[in-house]
């Protein structure tokens, strides 16, 4: 139970820092908010959806996946700053659980993600979004898994690279194709759709859409949970190992 206690300790500290300087939480929801307000109105015509509400029901679930992706992929920069300040090394000379050092930080990212997702969901209701509570909770579970996966991966890479200059191009280089090949902005077709089948986040977007359409039984839902869940487990394992090992 030392692990739980230590994770909670690290989580509390990290949340304190987030609340003390919430500007990043705000910046994190600005992008999806812009898409909601400025891109959304174009969708009804672009998608030839019967109503604006239909367009939003298609668009918002993808937007939430985008939020989960972009909100977590760049958390490694914070870790690099902590490494530089000596905070991580200071933790490492204590007997605190190494796994907790990582889990506490990932939990912080999930917590901020849920708050952001709630905000976007609520803001989309006036535009005609409708969804059942059970479905939205399942969708949030999927988002949470994405958050944990990408935050753990970002932190593990940060520990390896130890420099913003190396992490930034790598993350941007990965983020853009993942976004474009996820079908978040527009429905995919042709060869792009075939390539997108290899993008786990495209599966997540499909599942999220099924959930917001009220079809939790759709096969895309359990498939995405399986794929994302499996990847999350793998990344957690990898990241935990980096935290335990990277001693420099």
């Amino acid at each position: 139970m030392k692990l739980l206690r230590d994770t909670w300790l690290i989580f509390q500290r990290q949340m304190l820092l987030v609340l003390r300087n919430p500007v990043w939480v705000v910046i994190g929801i600005l992008q999806p908010l812009y898409f909601l307000l400025l891109f959304g109105p174009l969708l009804k015509d672009a998608l030839q959806a019967p109503t604006a509400a239909d367009a939003y029901r298609f668009f918002v679930p993808g937007l939430l996946v985008m939020l989960a992706m972009f909100g977590s992929m760049f958390v490694g920069f914070g870790l690099i700053a902590e490494l530089r300040a000596g905070v991580i090394e200071r933790s490492r000379v204590t007997p605190v659980s190494r796994l907790a050092l990582m889990l506490g930080r990932s939990l912080r990212d999930v917590a901020t993600l849920v708050v952001q997702a709630l905000l976007i969901t609520v803001l989309a209701i006036p535009f005609g979004l409708t969804v059942r509570v059970g479905d939205v909770l399942l969708a949030y579970l999927l988002l949470g898994l994405i958050g944990v996966m990408l935050s753990a991966a970002s932190n593990a890479l940060a520990l390896k690279l130890r420099s913003e200059d190396a992490l930034a191009p790598l993350m941007n280089g990965v983020a853009q194709p993942l976004l474009l090949l996820s079908g978040i902005l527009l429905p995919l077709s042709g060869w792009v759709a075939t390539v997108a089948d290899f993008n786990p986040f495209s599966w997540a977007v499909n599942a999220s859409r099924a959930l917001f359409a009220g079809n939790p039984g759709d096969s895309s839902v359990w498939q995405a949970l399986l794929i994302i869940g499996g990847l999350t487990a793998l990344t957690l394992f990898w990241s935990a190992r980096s935290f335990a090992r990277s001693v420099r």
Binding site: D6, R20, N21, A85, E89, R90, P95
Partner: protein, 317 residues
């Protein structure tokens, strides 16, 4: 309290296509007694930080063994962590939180409960005279204040041994003197202090015993006085008004004079301990009725020791 045998560490670093191996620490044998301030003196790049990081369980040694506060470094690093404190060269505090918050968190990372952690933070803040700005963000502290927070963090769990990596580097003279007082206070509380420095004066004034390190190896070890005595002994320069040859004859046969040189206006005498030799010299010259003009004592510095052992001056490296 600390005993090491053959501690080694090398780093591989890539420069372009070539991989270079740096032997940062090449076989360090040390003994540090309980309750002493032990110093590690050496130029930048000597391997001081690397040795400390190995002893603090932060990096694994390539070879060698160490026992710290009774715990074996290789077999039981967890126990070593519980018994030591470590204060890194580059600091360890976060800009956006206060000293009190840092101290409570750090105590809790050692498994100490919340209430007790808060009590300890209050005590540490008082001991290090940080109470006044305990709740201000760390980024508003001066260099000296921030360094004191680092040290307070390092001993919040009452370790038996604390490693301080260049605790005074970058501090102004007043903060440095203040820091020396803090370190001496730790010793008076029974903590064994292992401190690194590249300042000669600091090693001389602060440390009970010290090891001089260069290129990953210990080149000399002992109390500052022992080290200096081993090198050259003291030099006494006597200024005489005219009667130099007589005085030279007189003093050359004295047992405590190791070597005697005639210089302009007087004599230079090499002796083991100037403080004992000077009264005897005075008596001898007076007794012979010779006229003594001046007398001067030069004690070798740690830099002379460094020069003798490495062929370089520490001030220049």
């Amino acid at each position: 309290m600390i005993e090491t045998k053959g501690l080694r560490k090398s780093f591989r670093s890539r420069q372009g296509r070539e991989t270079k191996t740096v032997e940062a620490v090449r076989g360090v044998d040390l003994f540090v007694g309980e309750g002493e301030i032990f110093g590690f003196l050496g130029p930048n790049g000597a391997g001081k930080t690397t040795t400390l990081r190995m002893l603090a369980t932060l990096i694994e040694p390539d070879g060698g063994e160490a026992t710290i506060a009774g715990a074996d470094l290789r077999r039981n690093p967890g126990e070593v962590r519980r018994r030591i404190g470590y204060v890194a060269q580059g600091g360890s505090t976060w800009d956006e939180v206060s000293a009190r918050e840092e101290l409570v968190l750090h105590a809790r990372m050692y498994g100490i409960g919340k209430a007790e952690a808060q009590r300890r933070a209050v005590r540490a803040l008082e001991a290090f005279q940080l109470t006044e700005f305990a709740d201000r963000k760390c980024k508003t502290y001066s260099g000296g204040q921030r360094r004191r927070v680092d040290i307070a963090l390092g001993i919040i769990h009452d370790p038996k041994v604390v490693f301080l990596d260049e605790p005074t580097t970058g501090l102004d003279p007043q903060s440095r003197a203040h820091m020396w007082d803090e370190i001496r206070r730790l010793r008076s509380e029974g903590v064994t202090v292992f401190v690194t420095t590249h300042y000669l004066e600091e090693a001389d004034a602060l440390c009970d015993r010290l090891a001089i390190m260069d290129y990953g190896e210990i080149v000399a070890e002992g109390t500052p006085d022992e080290l200096k005595r081993d090198v050259a002994g003291d030099v006494v320069t006597v200024g005489l008004n005219g009667s130099t040859p007589e005085a030279a004859q007189l003093l050359d046969s004295e047992g405590y004079v190791n070597k005697l040189e005639t210089v302009e206006g007087g004599l230079r005498l090499y002796v083991d301990q100037g403080s004992i030799a000077i009264p005897q010299i005075l008596r001898k010259i007076d007794g012979a009725g010779l006229h003594l003009g001046t007398i001067e004592l030069h004690r070798p510095s740690l830099d002379d020791v460094f020069l003798e052992k490495t062929g370089r001056s520490l001030r220049e490296s």
